[in-house]
């Protein structure tokens, strides 16, 4: 049996961000077991896809750089050995500074995996070799996996693996992670490397004479300190280029032995004298070091890659000409989103009704049984009318739209469209003094704001990252979408007959545009006040379009969403249903608590264009926004006649009976778009920022925005109405 690698615990990070990530390092380490194999590589090269192929798990993948921002673990077996595969975030280099890139670097350097798979993109090998060469400087235990071979074949790019392997001195395997091609060979190579069955002679880059001399000068002293814990040459190079951030981490890994060593300090001075013969300042040294690596990568790539068709990316360019064109870029973007909404709304109607019918049929059956068995009234009320009904509601209203929207969205993501959205919108974000990648984190927010907030790690600058975190809530998530869809279908589109779904889709699109505009405005305001600063750097890779696996995505994403919605229904909707029922059935001074609460909140609700129950629903919906509409309906039903809401028109009737107007619907939609983040999201914000202050601000900013907007809209429209009467 192979011995296991060590897991990286006790890494002491200085920065708060790193602190936030520390939890993940030590995450359920009792379960983690097996020979550790790390999966590194440039962003968007298919690491997560490979991870899924090998472990059979379901890490999220997507055609844009920065999809994975945390570590993921999974086991697999090969030749009777248990392996632990670790999916790392993508990184261009091991010497960079964004959080998720640091995670990858720290893992490769300090966790000492038994083998490290470096995944490279076959269609862009030269740039990818850069990282391969850097990893080879740290560890010998490397297997290079040249992925996306199908794309390379399609583009008629040929790669000589044998030659590449001979030059790099480590095994090289070509794969197609999506179809699982080459995986066996890859696992075999990994096994051999981990078991030391393979004599690897990794290529070490030769730098210029001055640098080499300086490195050799201090290397023996470094060797004394690092022993066999780290590669002494690599540490010596970092010392020479004065890469303090990396050095700090190395130092804490070595329990301060690096900085406390006086001999080394002395020799470093001498090394600097050597360097001064040619270089002025560490910037120049760094340039020289990186340039040598880049040149080497270029040289190797020239030797092993051949292009049968020099214009291999012609097709991508043509598509980009259209999708990011000056005149059509933004209209196409809106049209695409609108189309997706339209498909969602028109597709969801029918299944929603069926699910509702079935679930409420079951409710009737449950009720019948309760009677038959003489179950006490209050238990029937609490469980069937409270818990069951709310859950049924959530499932029937939430499930169909989400099960249609997300597969479609995932399709766009897999094609590679999201980075183009960021590209199209970047200038607006720049003007708002925010980061261009905020467009990407917003897109993730569609799925779930908590996920969007974790995704904000792709933004390096802490200031811009906070802006992205605070404003993420302005994109409606999974839980709020159906509320918007239902209300816009009922109230705004209701009278348009044949065009109902089109109008509903447009309304939804309008809501999203409002959300984006508010995001930009609030980002701008934050940048001018509590998060002062200028935009930091922005580089965004626009990956090639890739053919999505339509069938697989649709099924996968559908299952994911179904499970997600069902899980939320059980975890959140069920208890809330119970609470509502209890509130409706506990009376204090002849009024139920529910009525009391509605009554107390009524004045504020009215000011904001809504009513007390709606506001109560938002407050009780704090654990999860899915339950807002169900709570509203439940409260109305509990206070008045008890009808069954199987269709949207029944819901409409109920709402109108309880005094809803066009204005109520608009304000409720606006408030749904702009109010405090749900409990999970706030918790995530706290975990990510490690600060109560920013969590509180993230709570207040959208809430205040919502109050201002709803108040203004409500009062303006009411004024207009009065004027018209006069």
């Amino acid at each position: 049996m192979l011995d296991r690698g060590e897991l990286p615990m006790g890494l002491t990070g200085q920065s708060t961000w790193l602190g936030a990530l520390k939890n993940e390092y030590s995450m359920n380490d009792t379960v983690l077991d097996g020979v550790v194999v790390a999966l590194a590589g440039n962003p968007n090269t298919g690491k997560s896809t490979l991870f899924n192929s090998i472990t059979g798990l379901n890490q999220h993948t997507g055609n844009w750089p920065g999809k994975t921002v945390t570590l993921a673990y999974g086991n697999y077996y090969y030749a009777d050995n248990k392996f632990l595969l670790v999916d790392l975030p993508g990184t261009y280099s091991l010497l960079s500074n964004s959080v998720e890139e640091e995670v990858a670097r720290d893992y490769i350097c300090f966790a000492k995996p038994k083998a490290c798979i470096v995944v490279a993109d076959a269609t862009c090998l030269e740039r990818n070799l850069n990282l391969v060469l850097q990893v080879l400087e740290i560890t010998d235990k490397v297997v290079v996996c040249v992925n996306l071979m199908d794309e390379a074949d399609r583009k008629k790019i040929n790669i000589d693996f044998e030659k590449l392997s001979a030059i790099l001195g480590v095994p090289v395997v070509g794969t197609n992670a999506r179809d699982g091609k080459g995986i066996d060979e890859l696992m075999q190579s990994v096994y051999k490397v981990a078991a030391n069955q393979m004599q690897s002679m990794p290529l070490k880059i030769k730098y210029d004479e001055v640098i080499e001399e300086a490195v050799e000068h201090i290397r023996p002293y470094v060797q004394n300190i690092v022993k066999d814990e780290l590669d002494s040459r690599w540490v010596a190079l970092r010392l020479i280029e004065g890469e303090w951030k990396t050095l700090d981490t190395i130092n804490s890994f070595l329990k301060s032995r690096l900085y406390k060593n006086d001999d080394l300090k002395q020799e470093l001075k001498k090394a600097n004298e050597i360097l001064q013969a040619k270089y002025h300042g560490t910037d120049e040294i760094r340039d020289a070091i990186v340039s040598s690596i880049v040149r080497k990568a270029e040289e190797i790539s020239k030797m092993v890659v051949s292009f049968e068709n020099k214009r291999y990316n012609e097709m991508d360019r043509k598509i980009d000409d259209i999708l990011t064109s000056k005149t059509f870029g933004i209209p196409i973007m809106l049209a695409l989103l609108g189309f997706v909404f339209w498909l969602t709304i028109s597709g969801a109607n029918y299944p929603s009704e069926i699910i509702a019918k079935v679930l409420f049929r079951i409710e009737d059956i449950l009720t019948d049984y309760c009677f038959k068995w003489g179950v006490p009234e209050w238990i029937h009320g609490a469980l069937v009318l409270g818990v069951y009904r709310t859950s049924a509601w959530v499932v029937s209203v939430m499930l169909p739209p989400m099960a249609i929207f997300f597969p479609l969205f995932t399709l766009l993501e897999d094609l590679g469209y999201l980075p183009r959205v960021a590209f199209n919108l970047d200038n607006f974000f720049k003007k708002a003094c925010a980061h261009g990648k905020q467009a990407l984190t917003m897109c993730m927010g569609f799925g779930c704001n908590a996920a969007g907030i974790i995704g904000c790690r792709i933004i390096d600058s802490p200031r811009e990252r906070l802006i992205a975190i605070i404003t993420n809530n302005f994109v409606p998530c999974n839980g709020r979408f159906p509320t918007l869809i239902a209300l816009s279908t009922i109230f705004i589109a209701g009278s348009f007959g044949k065009f109902q779904t089109v109008i509903a889709a447009l309304t939804l699109l309008g809501a999203i545009i409002i959300g984006v505009l508010i995001t930009l405005a609030v980002s701008r305001i934050l940048s001018a006040t509590i998060l002062k600063g200028i935009p930091s750097t922005f580089t965004l890779e626009l990956p090639p379009y890739r053919k999505p696996q339509v069938g697989k995505i649709l099924i996968r994403s559908l299952l994911d969403r179904t499970l997600f919605v069902l899980a939320r229904a059980v975890i959140v909707a069920a208890p809330t249903g119970l609470i509502i029922w209890l509130m409706a059935n506990t009376t204090v001074e002849n009024l139920s608590i529910l009525k009391w609460s509605g009554k107390i909140l009524e004045p504020i609700g009215h000011l904001l264009g809504m009513d007390g129950y709606i506001l109560l629903a938002f407050i009780l919906g704090f654990p999860a926004n899915e339950i807002v509409i169900p709570i509203i309906a439940m409260s109305y039903m509990a206070t008045g006649s008890l009808i069954e809401i199987e269709t949207l028109s029944a819901l409409k009737e109920l709402l109108i009976d309880n005094g809803w107007t066009y204005l109520t619907a608009v304000c409720t939609m606006l408030f749904s778009l702009n109010h405090f983040p749900c409990g999970t999201t706030l918790l995530t914000i706290y975990k990510e920022t490690q600060s109560l202050k920013w969590t509180a601000i993230s709570f207040l900013v959208p809430t205040i925005t919502g109050i201002i907007i709803c108040f203004t809209v409500a009062q303006t429209i009411r004024c207009c109405q009065i004027m018209m009467l006069l």
Binding site: Y92, S93, L95, S96, N97, T123, C124, L125, E126, R127, N130, D283, R286, D287, V290, S291, V294, R295, A297, E298, D316, R317, D320, D321, T324, S325, K326, T327, G329, I330, F423, N424, L425, D426, N427, F428, K430, G436, D460, P535, T537, F538, T539, L540, E541, L542, P543, P544
Partner: protein
């Protein structure tokens, strides 16, 4: 400064340039180097975003979008 050097920012779309010098410092410089923007690297300006900025460049086989602030820290020679 040599005369036919221009800022990458000013490289017209559809044209190629060869990197001569980076004036960026610190982190930004590091990022640029990581992307392979070292001296003599060939860069092609592919397209501008509909909103005018950023611009997408072809750099060592990858398409990278840079804002004008960053692109103006790279000196290139038209080729």
């Amino acid at each position: 400064m040599e005369k036919n050097l221009i800022l990458l920012d000013n490289l017209p779309v559809g044209n190629c340039g060869r990197v001569k010098k980076l004036t960026a410092k610190g982190n930004i410089r590091r990022r640029m180097l990581d992307l392979g923007l070292i001296e003599e690297t060939q860069v092609e300006a592919l397209r501008k975003s509909p909103s005018g900025d950023p611009t997408a460049y072809q750099i060592r086989g990858a398409v990278i979008a840079l804002r004008s602030e960053e692109a103006s820290k790279i000196l290139v020679e038209m080729c």
